[in-house]
Amino acid sequence: MPTFVYMTRCDGCGHCVDICPSDIMHIDPTYRRAYNIEPNMCWECYSCVKACPHHAIDVRGYADFAPLGHSVRVIRDEEKGVIAWRIKSRNGETDLNLLAPITTKPWGKHIPQLADVTGPSQDQRNSQLLYNEPKYIRLDDGDIHTLESNGLELKEGVYY
């Protein structure tokens, strides 16, 4: 079942609109609250559910873990770096609380740069794992093949 918005909790901030990969969360022009414009196209990816700062969006849990009449709710806490799930069965007897980390370092600061990592040594290249690496990524010698390095250029348009 696709996502739906509790209009009483929504304040029209638009974080769900920004994050929806299918672009189906929009803001209703009269009520200025978010709503799912095309439930048929919803993949239930949970992006909007996790992005909403007011926890105003809900969606039915996937059938492989969620029994009928359940309630599944999630809080993605960015500052603490964790994601918390709560799965309740309809008679309330099962009430699972799950917590898992989603980052180990502050956001946006410690992005690993490939240039900072040394490439594999010749021994590593000859080892079992890398000996078969194809020539076109030039682990054997030289730099990476690019269009420019081969004297080619990408022409615009479609060619048959």
């Binding site: 803001i27 960015e78 500052e79 603490k80 709560r86 799950l98």
Partner: protein, 277 residues
């Protein structure tokens, strides 16, 4: 100019009673509008149904003393200081609009019903000014159509913008009427007619506009506090603190990957304002 009662000339022309009857009619229109709104949209029925559902899922019971203190904190927090707004611009503009409206209405009623106190004309003008500035700031810059949806400020939605537009028109033309002499001739008359037309629109279209939110929002904020206090919290999970040993014992992934005292990770997707046009 800010301390001259704008209604003196008007009451000489049409009589104080006509103005008082108008005010009373507007009050009745608001009350009737809110009642019809609640009955027709079944908002009260859904609200209490939700409250019952939350009560069934409650983990703790709340004493009436706790309930009183939560009502008081809702009053001082969400009502008086609009603490529900996370965005500071929206919060400030809402405070200006809200207090401007309240002061303006109270000053209107006080002067029309005969109060001679010298403070009322000043409050009338200041209230209208605050309403115009705060409401104008919201209308031209802050509302989601303009700030996030890339819409033009003049692309109005009839039902969506009825409240803010009638508030703005009312306050602007009230001020213009007062500054043009508060009379009933020429330009003054035009301003006065527009002022009264906007005010009448504002109070009689309660069913179709956002007006009633001023009564619903405090109730919703109080109900949300109750759900947090009684443990039902709309079935949302408890997150807890990551340096709490109980949390770390229950979820060993947390200390394994994040250490025993994880830092504040900062903002990720919430770093940028959602401008999605």
């Amino acid at each position: 100019m800010l301390s001259t009662n704008p209604f003196t000339e008007l009451s000489a022309a049409i009589g104080a009673e006509a103005m008082q009857i108008y005010v009373i009619l507007m009050f009745i229109a608001v009350i009737v509008g809110v009642i019809i709104d609640v009955v027709h949209k079944k908002s009260a029925a859904y609200f209490f149904e939700n409250a019952k559902k939350a009560e069934k899922a409650a983990k703790r019971s709340i004493s009436s003393g706790d309930k009183m203190s939560m009502a008081a904190s809702t009053l001082t927090g969400e009502v008086l200081t609009s603490s529900e707004f996370a965005n500071p611009q929206r919060r400030v503009s809402h405070l200006m609009t809200m207090y401007g409206f309240i002061i303006f209405v109270v000053a209107n009623v006080a002067m029309i019903f005969g109060s001679e106190a010298g403070i009322w004309p000043l409050l009338w003008h200041l209230g209208a000014l605050s309403l115009a500035v705060g409401g104008g700031w919201f209308f031209f810059a802050i509302r989601v159509d303009v700030s996030s949806e890339g819409g033009k400020w003049y692309a109005l939605d009839l039902r969506g913008d009825l409240f803010i537009v009638s508030l703005l028109v009312m306050s602007v033309f009230a001020l213009l009427w007062s500054f043009s002499g508060a009379g009933l001739s020429g330009l003054s008359l035009v301003f006065f007619i527009l002022f009264i037309a906007a005010a009448t629109t504002l109070f009689t279209t309660v069913i179709w506009s956002k007006f009633a939110h001023m009564f619903f929002k405090p109730a919703a904020a109080y109900q949300k506090k109750i759900t947090r206090a009684d443990g039902s919290q709309e079935n949302l999970p408890d997150v807890g603190e990551m340096n709490d040993p109980a949390v770390q014992a229950r979820y060993p992934d947390i200390p394994e990957y994040m250490g025993t005292n994880p830092p504040d990770m900062g903002l990720g997707i919430k770093r940028e304002k959602p401008t999605h046009f």
